[in-house]
């Protein structure tokens, strides 16, 4: 089992190497689908073998790497990590199936995505600061090229903005890691990059307060939190569909994952100290981003802002310092990963067929694309937290947990469910409905459109099925995630 985890992480990277040597389009496509499928199945094997009644990290691997600096190849999973890994593997599989028809430089495209998959899986499993940071930065480069090569009109601007922003955040994170390592050296006389070792140290308050901010900036940019969020809408607008799906579904979760993995357990006192700050930013994000969303005419920009709004719920739940709320926050990471991925797929489908993201150019599509209309609607309902889908359980847990100690914050944050319904249904209306308001020439064009094909249906069905399962039978998933909450809060 321990080796399986390493295999899962590096299988995509190895495949990327192989296909870039073979350089054949068909091979690349088949290999990417098959390998990501295998990775998904193997991640499920881990998932079903995970014993959530047993505390602590599981499937641990620890091999000395640079002993002089206390750096080791240290991997391990807890309930949150295994959930995120399964979700990541699922989304990458979906993305490769979706990209079946990619024509522009397909070999490079699949290779970059496979590299990205390794980086993403690595981030969620690394238990060594150095290893984590490598994976963390490792995801930056493939994503930069994906946006820069396969993006739309302003792709270079967006790619640079994405890179500079996240790189800027990463520097603070690096500084944060450096600080705690240096502190560890002074406190214990040994240099160690090991997460578990640092967990035992119990940093003094002054260090916690300072380093929390360094980590916090690094994670906040990635999530992204208000006010360092403006890179995300631009990146999404320009990114190709598959890039957006991974960006929203997986990459954003790295920031929130970082908060739960590092900030909460390493800086428990600082986490308490900064509650007002984080709550303020979270609630602003929820409401402000929802307002930004409804002001858009670009489909992807709207979905991007809705992501920022949802991430506000995650950060709120994380720092409510309550078990239910934390469970909800992690649940939201998964739920949002699924719903935003499905929504970006939907946006991508519209672009594939009509070559526009602008709602003013659309309208009345529901009659011509009936199957797509259903997928799009369910994806949106998953996003706005309709009961029966995963998002509702997440929202409910976060609001419940936050309400216990901070009822006013919870009630204000809860307005997100009203605003969310407004922006999604408003978009759906403008894109899919009101056929009577569009010109006849457009109707003629619509009549020739082809509805979803197999390589669209598979990703939609897989993702939405999981969203339904998690919405209708949440008990096992909540117990799994609770494994992490126990790690953070004890008990």
């Amino acid at each position: 089992m321990e080796k399986l985890l390493s295999l899962i992480i590096f299988l995509p990277l190895i495949t990327a190497g192989v296909i870039s040597l073979i350089r054949k389009e068909e091979v690349a496509k088949v290999a990417s689908v098959v390998v990501s499928g295998i990775v998904f199945i193997l991640s499920l094997v881990l998932f079903f073998n995970f014993d959530f009644s047993k505390p602590g990290f599981q499937f641990e691997t620890k091999i000395d790497w640079i002993p002089a600096l206390g750096i080791s190849y240290h991997l391990g999973l807890d309930g949150m990590a295994i959930s995120l890994i399964v979700m990541t593997a699922l989304l990458f599989f979906a993305v490769f199936v979706w990209s079946w028809r990619v024509e522009d430089r397909p070999v490079l495209y699949t290779a970059l995505f496979l590299m990205l998959e390794t980086a993403c899986l690595g981030v969620f499993s690394a238990l060594d600061f150095f290893l984590f940071y490598i994976f963390w930065e490792g995801m930056l480069i493939p994503m930069y090229f994906i946006i820069g090569f396969w993006g739309h009109e302003r792709k270079v601007y967006a790619a640079n903005k994405f890179f500079l922003y996240t790189f800027f955040g990463s520097l603070f994170l690096l500084l944060g890691f450096a600080s705690v390592i240096v502190y560890g050296y002074f406190a214990t006389g040994e240099i160690t990059f090991d997460y578990i070792e640092h967990l035992k140290m119990g940093y003094p308050l002054w260090l916690q307060l300072a380093v929390f901010l360094l980590f916090g900036i690094g994670f906040a940019v990635k999530i992204p939190m208000f006010p360092v969020h403006t890179w995300l809408p631009d990146a999404h607008v320009e990114a190709p569909t598959a890039g957006s799906v991974i960006l929203a579904g997986v990459l954003l979760k790295m920031g929130t994952y970082g908060f739960v993995r590092y900030s909460l357990p390493l800086f428990p006192d600082a986490s308490k100290y900064y509650i007002p700050l984080i709550f303020t930013l979270s609630v602003i994000a929820i409401i402000y981003a929802a307002m930004m969303a409804i002001a858009q005419t670009h489909i992807k920009r709207l979905i991007a802002y809705s992501s920022i709004s949802h991430m506000g719920i995650v950060t709120l739940g994380t720092f409510a310092l309550d078990k239910d709320a934390l469970n909800g926050a992690v649940y939201m990471m998964i739920a949002h990963g699924l719903s935003s991925a499905a929504l970006f797929f939907a946006a991508g489908f519209i672009y594939d067929r009509i070559h526009s993201y602008n709602m003013d150019d659309l309208g009345g599509l529901a009659r011509y694309l009936p199957n797509f209309a259903i997928f799009f609607m369910i994806s949106g309902l998953a996003g706005i937290g309709l009961p029966g889908l995963a998002g509702f359980i997440a929202e409910f847990l976060v609001l419940l947990g936050t309400f216990k100690a901070h009822p006013v914050w919870a009630v204000i944050a809860g307005t997100g469910m009203i605003l969310g319904a407004a922006y999604f249904l408003y978009m759906y209306k403008r894109v899919m409905l009101e056929e009577d308001t569009i010109p006849d020439s457009r109707k003629e064009r619509w009549a020739k459109l082809r509805d979803v094909e197999a390589h669209h249906v598979i990703p939609f069905v897989l993702i939405l099925l999981v969203a339904f399962i998690m919405g209708l039978y949440p008990a096992p998933f909540v117990r799994l995630i609770d494994h992490t909450s126990k790690l953070v809060f004890g008990g």
């Binding site: 640079n160 402000y288 409804i294 002001a295 469910m417 249904l425 009577d436 949440p474």
Partner: protein
């Protein structure tokens, strides 16, 4: 186990039609919907008899582990829930049958979707009625919200319909937002979401929070039942097909708010302050909506306002402590209100869905005798005329109002008068007088087929006889038995007859010239018709206002301010000569620089903190 069939039948119908509808066709979809509704009804009858004296609770599976409590999905069948389920499924099934006629040749090839949505609607409503825990109720709660969104916006090519469905969903979500916090607060007080356990714990729990929790829960009911101030979606929801209006107003959706308060009545009773709020909101809405109904001319909107008003009646009854009466009125109202809508739908179908304004009809009684009779029976029941069902339930409510306070009683009487007036105004204008429709249609209107008339006749019979079951109903649901106060009964019937007489005098005999009266009362008329301008206010300030604030905030706050700072910074870095070239040329150097810089900063920080700080 019979209880689960009640829920499973409409759910299966929804899934079956949703997945296979386009292959099996509209007719088969319609039949599946009807059969599922009928099965659900039959089993709910069986369950009613079983659970009348000994309530049954079925637990299904562990749903959600919370700190200190694990929620299990389950259903609770007692007299209240199972009788309500029977009424809901009965009325719904008749409406499903009627839909076959109404939706014939409607809106191209998408009718199977309509049946799927109807089944979903029924399932969600039954979830509210039968769930044994608050979260289950919330699932149904949002489920009816979704189903109503889909059904109100069924003619989704029209802007009117999509706007109305969007408004309905968002406004319901405002209520749901309050409701979910009501659930959370209730959970924190009682440490359980199971309603049976909550009832057990109510007598022993002292908490200042109960008032707040019940108030929030009631907020949900306000949204769902279209009470003030979350009322504007209800009349606009008439944009949907008429069977939807009937379903929405008789058996599902709006009834959910009243039912929820009745279901949780032991909890509400422990919060007398909240009950006062319930009474005030209900009373105001009853009057407000009745006034609005007197001035509207849309065939369906008048009935919609009537529903709002009658729901206000029920809330007022809940507020003054007569839970049994409120639920009984909900039941009789389901019959006669469904009947009124179906009769209205029959008229609309006769004119091929083109005419809606009551002044465009006229003189229909000789062409559509069954519809005319149905409408009249429904109207008489609504007006509370002896011995129809509405008389019994309404009389009981007004009696309760007078017991609580004279003001409430007087309000009830005034609303009863207005009710009789507005519904007979509609009836007289549509079915009597000159045949104004000839301007719009060459064909003579005629009665629709049996699929439409039979449901009306059945509902008509129920609207007449349901009142006689008052004693039995009160005994079953545990409402207190009340003697009829002869003076109140006589007064109510008298004001009802007075209202009818007024409508007859104005619109048939024309003692007053309607046009001149209209001119004289124009200001008042407009105020009523515009619902005291609440709708305009909401639309301009809340809906349009929210949009424009958002747009301005986006253009100024986001684009100019935040992004301006970012791009400015990037520009400064870039013009310093390096910037992007760093990234492209020497990524490794940049990393190394960052690393070194980071360590330098860190060292400085450490030195400062260790030697300079106060730690």
């Amino acid at each position: 186990m019979e209880g689960l069939v009640v829920l499973a039948a409409p759910l299966s119908a929804f899934l079956l039609i949703g997945l296979l509808g386009r292959y099996i066709g509209d007719k088969a979809s319609g039949i599946i919907t009807i059969v599922a509704g009928a099965i659900s009804f039959l089993f709910s009858i069986v369950v009613s008899f079983k659970s009348l004296h000994s309530p049954v609770q079925i637990k299904l599976y562990e749903f959600l582990p919370l700190e200190g409590y694990t929620l299990t999905v389950g259903f609770y069948f007692d007299a209240l829930s199972s009788i309500t389920a029977a009424v809901v499924t009965f009325v719904a099934t008749l409406i499903f049958v009627y839909s076959i006629g109404y939706m014939h040749n409607e809106f191209g090839k998408w009718v199977y979707k309509f049946y799927a949505y109807l089944s979903l609607f029924l399932f969600a409503m039954l979830l509210i009625v039968l769930s044994d825990n608050l979260l289950g109720i919330f699932f149904g709660w949002e489920g009816v919200g979704l189903a109503s969104y889909l059904l109100i916006g069924y003619y989704h090519n029209q802007k009117k319909a999509t706007n109305a469905s969007l408004e309905a969903f968002v406004m319901n979500r405002i209520g749901d937002w309050l409701f979910i916090f009501g659930i959370i607060a209730t959970f924190l007080i009682f440490k359980t979401l199971d309603i049976v356990e909550i009832f057990e714990r109510v007598p022993t729990t002292e908490s200042a929070l109960i008032g707040l929790a019940t108030l929030l829960l009631f907020g949900g009911a306000v949204g769902k039942s279209g009470q003030l101030p979350l009322h504007t979606w209800l009349p606009n929801a008439m944009a949907g097909p008429t069977p939807v209006s009937a379903l929405l107003h008789a058996a599902t959706m709006v009834a959910a708010g009243v039912y929820m308060v009745a279901r949780l009545y032991p909890l509400f009773e422990s919060a007398p302050q909240t009950l006062k709020v319930v009474a005030v909101i209900g009373g105001l809405t009853a009057l407000f909506a009745a006034l609005a109904a007197t001035s509207h001319t849309d065939m369906k909107k008048i009935i919609a306002f009537s529903t709002m008003s009658q729901l206000g009646y029920m809330f007022l009854a809940l507020g003054v402590g007569d839970m049994g009466g409120a639920m009984f009125h909900l039941t009789t109202h389901a019959f006669f209100k469904a009947l009124l809508f179906l009769a209205a739908g029959s008229v609309i179908t006769a004119f091929h869905h083109r005419l809606y304004d009551i002044y465009n009809f006229g003189g229909l009684k000789k062409y559509m005798p069954i519809t005319y009779a149905s409408f009249t029976v429904g109207a008489l029941a609504l007006a509370g005329i002896f011995p129809l069902s509405g008389f019994w339930s309404k009389d009981r409510l007004i009696g309760s109002y007078y017991e609580a306070s004279f003001v409430w009683g007087l309000l009830g009487t005034v609303v009863a008068f207005l009710t009789a007036y507005y519904i007979f105004r509609e009836g007289f204008v549509v079915f009597h007088g000159e045949e104004r429709y000839k301007k719009f249609s060459e064909h003579e209107p005629q009665e629709m087929g049996a699929v439409m008339t039979v449901p009306m006749v059945v509902l008509g019979v129920m609207a007449v006889v349901a009142g006689f079951f008052e004693g039995w109903y009160m005994h079953a649901v545990g409402g207190e038995h009340k003697e009829i106060h002869l003076n109140i009964a006589l007064t109510s019937v008298f004001v009802g007859v007075l209202g009818i007489a007024l409508a007859y005098g104005v619109f048939v005999k024309r003692f007053l010239d309607p046009e001149r009266t209209y001119e004289a009362l124009k200001a008042l008329h407009t105020t009523f018709k515009e619902q005291f301008f609440t709708e305009k206010l909401y639309h301009s300030i809340l809906a349009a206002g929210y949009m424009s604030y958002s747009k301005v905030l986006y253009l100024v706050g986001e684009r100019q301010f935040i992004d301006g700072i970012v791009n400015g910074t990037a520009y400064i870095v870039q013009s310093a000569g390096q910037g992007l070239r760093f990234l492209q040329a020497g990524k490794l150097n940049w990393y190394a620089l960052g690393l070194a810089g980071g360590f330098a900063l860190l060292a400085a920080l450490l030195v400062f903190l260790i030697y300079g700080g106060g730690y």
